[in-house]
Amino acid sequence: MSDRYSFSLTTFSPSGKLVQIEYALKAVAQGVTSIGIKATNGVVIATEKKSASSLIDDSSLEKVAVVCPNIGMVYSGMGPDFRVLTTKARKAAQKYKRIYNEYPPTGILVKEVASVMQEFTQSGGVRPFGVSLLICGYDEKGPGLYQVDPSGSYWAWKASAIGKNMVNAKTFLEKRYNDDMELEDAVHTAIITLKEGFEGEMNEHSIEIGVIGGGNFGFGPGKEEPVFKKLTPEEIKDYLANIV
């Protein structure tokens, strides 16, 4: 029955679903796992960097992307769709800056990206994006982690996983997560969560990690404004060495 309604995105099925979005979520579930964890003083996002062949030069592959100095994002699903969304998110952030001379707070940028993704579920001749995003940022309200789905809905999370291994990873995180976690612990937890479903050898070149916050970053006197950065392979190696 739903086959009749599955070809046209902009038609509801009798059961009240937009079947194309369901299929888009299936595409996401086939992508490699990504993790996001919010700590008291920062946020970490991480993903596997699985190359189809050892001949691929994976230093050129960027899965964790900087959107603006206070916001970064990672995905699960189709890489090319992610590239398009990264460009749109970066442009939205710069457009905001041109008007207000400051970068957008995380929630505002997430709304922008989500409304772009929603547009592609209500227009003619387009298909939804085949990615779920984990967007992390640190603004005056504090650290924030958001997930955005192909439908355009978004939620804030304390810790989340998307992609192939998301069910097991979320169960794992539910046990491991506590509200008092600091950024260092969060990075550690993110790595071991990734390791749970990892196929093959996990080393500093096969995972990508991005962090914002930690240490003396924050808002207020005597603190530096937090900046999103990707961990270098050397830094990842240090973290991996601490894991048995």
């Binding site: 207000y100 001379n101 400051e102 929630g107 505002i108 709304k111």
Partner: protein, 260 residues
């Protein structure tokens, strides 16, 4: 005469210690003809920020409405009030959008930031911002305002002293400018109260009284004495002004009893 001078008017802003004040005159004219003597040019954007617009009156009115729209949308989207420096950039970008067919206004943004430190920013009609630490003036009586502000302003003025300084400055300057005057509106905000204290008639009444008739000053002195319970010699103009601000209702009585 340039189109910026057609309707006349001035706006002045001054920074003090954890407080800021912005003032405008109340004249609205059509060249030499005065049409209204109650056209203040200030807009309260948030609890702690103000924008004042001098220049063509239709653009003043339109931009007040335009910025009300932007500020309300900002408040609903971001779930917080806009900061004064952010507002200043918003005003600047809005003006620059019309770079080749500009709004004929020269605004001043004044407010307290999240640490309650004063922020002042003057702009030209296409959005060039100048963030002064002391005072900022725009309008037909700009030169006169800068002239009187320079000696009157000092760093770290308390709210009452700031109020007096800005009031004296705007009244003296508008007296020397034919295109502005007919009283002033002073909005000031300080750390302790995030609501502004508007004193349109108290100030104008007091200063007009000073100019018109010395006798009426005596009446005010007596009144002030009664209210503050000080000996007559101690009562200075500054005390009277402070008293007049705090007891506007009483002051109206005095003014009406003086037959103004």
């Amino acid at each position: 005469m340039s189109i910026l001078e057609y309707n006349g008017g001035v706006v002045l802003a001054m920074a003090g210690k954890k407080c800021v004040a912005i003032a405008s005159d109340k004249r609205f004219g059509s060249n030499y003809l005065t049409i209204s003597m109650n056209f203040p040019k200030l807009y309260q954007a948030t609890d702690k920020t103000f924008i004042g617009f001098s220049g063509l009156a239709t653009d003043v009115q339109t931009l007040i409405e335009k910025f009300r729209f932007h500020i309300n949308m900002y408040r609903m989207n971001e779930e917080r009030d806009i900061e004064p420096n952010t507002l200043a950039h918003l005003v600047s970008s809005t003006l620059y959008e019309r770079r080749f067919a500009p709004y004929f206004v020269e605004p001043i943004v004044a407010g307290l930031d999240k640490n309650n430190d004063p922020f002042i920013c003057g702009m030209d009609l296409i959005g060039c911002t100048t963030m002064n630490y002391d005072f900022s003036a725009t309008g037909t009586g700009e030169d006169q305002l800068y002239g009187i502000c320079e000696p009157l302003w000092q760093p770290n003025l308390e709210p009452e002293e700031l109020f007096e300084a800005i009031s004296q400055a705007i009244m003296s300057a508008t007296n020397r400018d034919c295109m502005s005057g007919w009283g002033a509106v002073v909005n000031n905000t300080r750390e302790s109260d995030h609501a502004y204290a508007e004193d349109p008639h108290g100030l104008i009444g007091l200063l007009l009284v000073r100019q018109i008739n010395a006798v009426r000053i005596e009446t005010l002195h007596l009144y002030a004495k009664l209210l503050t319970d000080q000996s007559l010699a101690d009562v200075s103009i500054r005390n009277i002004m402070t008293v007049a601000v705090r007891h506007r209702e009483v002051f109206y009585d005095v003014v009406s009893s003086c037959g103004m």
